[in-house]
């Protein structure tokens, strides 16, 4: 049941309830079919000769059967809106059969949070978790991309001005990211993480972790994202998860201030 509580801690911090306001604005740049609906199969837009990744994106979600398999028969009792969540938000090692995970034995998830403040539901979620559980908004500018989250944030900046990763980055929740185009794929390298867990199951991350993301906008409405994680302190080898993000067209993310009227913390197991 311990693991259960952690999942609750992780996922209950996420906002958008079904009754929150929905932001619709028909953008001029959205390609449309004859009946005026967004054409999600239109070619990817371009900016200065490269694909433009701008837009509001969500993970595809999972079926009920898949959630039950991941979380057990009572998984859906949590009654959390998991429509936008990827399985990898709950278990980054979901692709591995039990016993075959590339996890060092000494690095097995600690069942109980080591720090009392780990039960703080308003701490950030880090990478890649943020993009696997909430809509994100990518804003592409000439020398950087900014990624906003509808969750707890903070935002990410991916510098595309040719700079290298810093030699000795200050550890942070979102790390420090630089991006380079390889053809039509944006390859993003991120380092300088703090030891934030990778998923709701608390799979560990050390400050030595490096993450490589490959973003390829297949067409207007779909983005293939491959995320490779390397952390020799905790994992015996690099591993990769693949997700196809879906565009939410003509929309926007909402403001979310987790600490505003935050009343859950006193009720959570510590």
């Amino acid at each position: 049941m311990r693991k259960w509580n952690l999942v609750v801690v992780f996922l209950v911090g996420f906002a958008p309830c079904a009754h929150a306001q929905w932001l619709n604005y028909p953008e001029a740049r959205t390609p449309r079919t004859k009946d005026g609906k967004p054409d999600l199969s239109a070619p990817a837009p371009r900016m200065k000769g490269k694909p433009d990744l701008s837009g509001v994106w969500r993970a595809p979600g999972e079926t009920e059967a898949e959630w039950k398999q991941l979380l057990g028969p009572h998984g859906l009792d949590l009654q959390i809106d998991l429509e936008f969540a990827s399985r990898y938000a709950v278990n980054i090692l979901a692709d591995f059969k039990p016993g075959e995970e590339p996890l060092r034995p000494a690095s097995a998830p600690v069942p109980k949070p080591a720090r009392p403040e780990a039960a703080n539901p308003c701490l950030p979620d880090s990478v890649p978790f943020t993009g696997f559980v909430e809509p994100i908004k990518i804003i592409q500018a000439p020398t950087e991309l900014v990624i906003l989250s509808e969750g707890k944030g903070p935002h990410r900046q991916i510098y595309t001005d040719g700079r290298s990763l810093p030699a000795d980055p200050q550890p942070s929740w979102m790390g420090y990211s630089v991006g380079q185009w390889q053809g039509d794929t944006l390859v993003v390298e991120t380092a300088g993480f703090r030891d934030a867990p990778l998923d709701a199951f608390q799979h560990p991350r050390s400050e030595a972790m490096g993450i490589t993301e490959r973003y390829r906008r297949r067409d207007f409405g779909h983005m293939d994202l491959e995320t490779t994680m390397v952390d020799p302190k905790n994992y015996t080898r690099p591993f990769t998860v693949k997700v196809t993000l879906h565009l939410i067209p003509d929309s926007d993310i909402q403001e979310y201030i987790c600490v505003d009227n935050e009343r859950d913390r006193s009720h959570m197991d510590k």
Partner: protein, 353 residues
């Protein structure tokens, strides 16, 4: 070789020349003194060195001088060694001020300075620590202002010719802050908050405190043709300003940051924001959901931007409250990640009064 006789003759001719010069000077002086045309008195100057309580020079800060008669303002900027010169003033009475520097140095004022024609008044200015008591590293605004003081160049432009406001900006307070005129209840509440040292302000609870953008903090602007993104080291860390001509949504539910749209008036970006909840503080003032903020951004050159913020709220203020600031570019700096709730140990100490 000069004989005694030659010397004598030399002296005599010198004296003659001197006498002639004196006569001419007297005549000229008399002419000038009695001339019917307007006379020009030599201008006055003020100069000095500005230091902090640690006796360190304070470079790259503005010094202001106001003619109490005409209201004309003169401005200078301190050099790397903290020295300033204000010149070209007519004789008269002046008020001098040095605006507060970041969170580190209090505003300095000296009024009733008498300047006389042709004189340079020496005025060294010892500044006083402000709220952070000069804690090293607490306030980057002095250091960054000095570091990038030599930034120069034209206004960068977007492909469509509009100014590109992108960059990391080192903000400042209004050089001449004006208190707003508030309704009695709002004024009383603000006074109470000030006296209690901002007890229970939103920022003590890690709630948003950076809208509108004011104060000696860092602001990063990332501009695309349809959207201006503003990043800052506070919650929620980001703000979107739509540049695509859209209107404010009709059924908007109030938020901390409101809904912002921007349009160009010449080379000035005018940003209008509505849709605020009533939870944030404007300085010490509360506001209602009627708050309407108008910001005007005019990038003067590569390194400087005039930023004006006007706050209108008939539920709080009798008149719009205007704040004028100058932002300085800090290229090469980056925003740091800001996670207020992590290891937040201040809150138990922020008990106010």
């Amino acid at each position: 070789m000069m004989t005694a006789r030659t010397r004598l003759l030399f002296r005599r001719s010198e004296r003659r020349a001197q006498a002639l010069a004196a006569l001419l000077a007297a005549l000229l002086g008399a002419f000038l003194a009695t001339g019917a045309h307007a006379q020009v008195e030599p201008a006055a100057s003020i100069s000095g060195v500005i230091t902090d309580p640690g006796n360190e020079a304070v470079p790259a800060i503005p010094v202001q001088l106001k003619d109490t008669n005409s209201g004309k303002m003169y401005t200078a900027t301190t050099s790397e060694s903290g020295s300033y010169v204000l010149t070209g003033m007519a004789p008269g009475t002046y008020d001098l001020s040095v605006p507060a520097v970041g969170f580190t140095l209090e505003r300095f004022e000296k009024s009733g300075l008498v300047l006389r024609a042709g004189e340079t008044l020496r005025l060294d200015i010892p500044m006083v620590w402000a709220g952070n008591l000069g804690t090293p590293g607490d306030d980057p605004s002095i250091y960054l202002r000095s570091k990038y003081a030599r930034t120069a160049g034209p206004v960068p432009r977007m492909p469509d010719g509009k100014p590109d406001l992108s960059g990391v900006w080192n903000g400042n307070d209004d050089r001449n802050p004006q208190d707003p005129e508030a309704l009695p209840a709002a004024a009383a509440l603000a006074k109470q908050r000030k006296e209690s040292q901002d007890k229970d302000s939103p920022s003590t609870h890690c709630l948003p405190s950076s809208m509108p953008p004011m104060g000696p903090l860092l602001w990063k602007l990332v501009q695309t043709p349809s959207l201006l993104v503003m990043l800052f080291e506070d919650l929620p860390g980001v703000r979107q300003i739509y540049l695509d001509g859209r209107a404010h949504p009709k059924d908007w539910k109030p938020t901390w940051m409101g809904h912002s749209v921007g349009r160009w008036e010449g080379d000035t970006l005018v940003v209008e924001t509505v849709g605020f909840n009533n939870k944030s503080w404007l300085g010490d003032y509360s506001h209602t959901e009627q708050l309407h903020v108008i910001e005007r951004y005019t990038r003067r050159d590569l390194g400087h931007m005039d930023v004006q913020v006007v706050m209108e709220d008939p539920g709080t203020f009798l008149n719009p409250w205007t704040v004028n600031m100058v932002w300085n570019l800090a290229p090469g700096e980056e925003m740091l990640e800001y996670v207020c709730t992590e290891n937040n140990r201040d809150v138990t100490h922020l008990v106010g009064k």
